[in-house]
Symmetry: C2
Subunit: 315 residues, 2 copies
């Protein structure tokens, strides 16, 4: 079982260390502050603020290095990797993938990088919020672009499975478009819906009448704005496309409401989409051998993700 070196001990990195350790992996990591490192050590984890030492050990052990720092903190971390463990097996847990792939190509180009994104989180943050169960039954995206190292792909998939997740292979650009549609746009819709519903201060009749449709539709507007902004603003191009798709549909709906008064096209299309979402596909075992021609294997993996399939661990 491959050792794991986790850079960053926030909610995701801290949960990952706990989950990997519970799965029997040799795991160590780095924290940004002495206080966090001390808290992690007190919890029995091998965490230091000395990133060079942690990376040197990763190079010696041929470990899988996992970058679990915010997008805005990526560059200095990648520069240290390039200096100390320049050809390491590398993945990450950042919520956008094209921007990370671009940064890796610029600042740590010799690494064997396969991007990752565990689709899990809570409203909390920091080492103390970490939870070994955070990734249970979550979708964990593993990049499947042409040219990636299939050995590292297997390492990342096996780490995801060890943490209890299901693997969804995807091209990084398709990942960013997908999360814009099903995660970032819902946050913006929730914000706008909350603002329209609440109206002006002092005019609180609407809030007094609100029931579950409003409560559910605005729930994620309760997330800390900093987290929402980091996530959405980091995926600008794909989010803009999703917003334009939504505006087009809303504009057509507005036109129908104003002219004929009919909303059937909007409501029925949404109902069908929700029903399609609800008819979840059963997870399947990886139907592709990773030992074939890499280009063909990666193409098959991407196709699998496009179909909406999620992959369980080998039995």
């Amino acid at each position: 079982m491959r050792a794991v070196c986790v850079l960053g001990t926030g909610l995701i990195g801290g949960s990952l260390m706990r989950a990997a350790a519970r799965a029997g992996r040799d795991v160590w990591g780095t924290a940004a502050s002495e206080a966090t490192a001390a808290a992690a050590v007190a919890d029995g984890f091998d965490v230091t603020t000395d990133a060079d030492a942690a990376l040197s050990r990763a190079a010696d052990a041929d470990a899988l290095v996992v970058v679990a720092v915010p997008l805005t903190a990526l560059e200095p971390v990648l520069r240290r990797i390039d200096a100390i463990a320049p050809t390491c097996r590398l993945t990450d847990a950042v919520s956008v993938k094209v921007a990370v792939a671009d940064a890796v190509a610029e600042f740590a180009p010799r690494t064997r990088y396969v991007g990752g994104h565990p689709m899990a989180g809570t409203a909390e943050s920091g080492w103390a919020a970490g939870d070994p169960d955070l990734f249970d039954e979550a979708a964990w995206v593993v990049a499947a672009d042409d040219g990636l190292d299939l050995g590292v792909w297997r390492d990342v998939a096996e780490l995801a499975w060890a943490c209890g997740s299901r693997v969804v292979p995807a091209a990084v650009d398709e990942h960013d478009i997908a999360v814009a549609r099903i995660s970032h746009l819902p946050h913006l819709f929730a914000a706008v819906l909350a603002s329209v519903g609440a109206g002006d201060q002092g005019d609180d009749l609407a809030l007094a009448l609100s029931a579950s449709s409003f409560a559910d539709g605005t729930r994620v507007a309760g997330t800390r704005p900093e987290l929402v902004l980091a996530m959405c603003e980091g995926n600008r191009a794909s989010l803009l496309a999703a917003v334009d798709d939504a505006l087009g549909r809303l504009g057509a709906m507005r036109g129908a409401l104003a002219s004929t008064g009919g909303l059937a096209a909007t409501v029925r299309s949404g109902h069908e989409a929700r029903m399609r979402w609800a008819s979840t596909r059963e997870p399947l075992e990886l139907p592709v051998s990773l030992d074939g021609d890499p280009s063909a294997v990666l193409a098959e993996l991407r196709e699998l993700g496009r179909r909406g399939d999620v992959v369980e661990p080998w039995k």
Copy 2:
């Protein structure tokens, strides 16, 4: 305790009969079909398909008549009321209020009508789906426009309280605007979000990655389209204003995202609105005597609803 005659035995009317009976009220009603009437009778309720007989009894008993039929079925019911119990105490449980008030003014103009709207429901329908607990702690809007009969206002409020609800007084046009913002717009947003998220059939990566933000934001898109359409299309003018408010905010957000890339205004405003929603006001006892000058009392009641206050029963 005033007797109650319920016209219509669907989810709302059937639940209302059960709740009123449990509260000790003398209650009878009418069903559209012999089968439904037989089912209600088998459950121990006094339900007939003979609307004239039920209304004649209501006139004799000076009962409160409650119209609990869909908006589209209103006219013939009001014509029978005008024929058999022309000056009865009248309320309703329809989800829009201006359209009902207009129909009452046209087809049963001599009734003492005070509109009502219990903000409760489930995805189910019909007599069998009725539940005496349906209205527990729900907001029950009672119309408070100038010129209404305060004696009937008290009857409707006391029925709402007897059913376990809290009363929110409101002008009928303000009610329609409020429900457009916190109930009808959320249904349209959920539909559009589901359609954008699901994308084209066969491109199911986004659905495979969807987590709670998408699940919550699209939940009400699972409602039967017929119910959503009846509700939204019946409130066209107010809904159009809410849609335009939302489109204005989304357009400004789209402009900011495309130019500076910043989403702070949208996200922070939505967060504040959601926090305002979450800071619920405590229900209060009716702070207005219904024995004062009717015009002044009704103005005070409307102001109370605008502040977002909900009113508990007298102790």
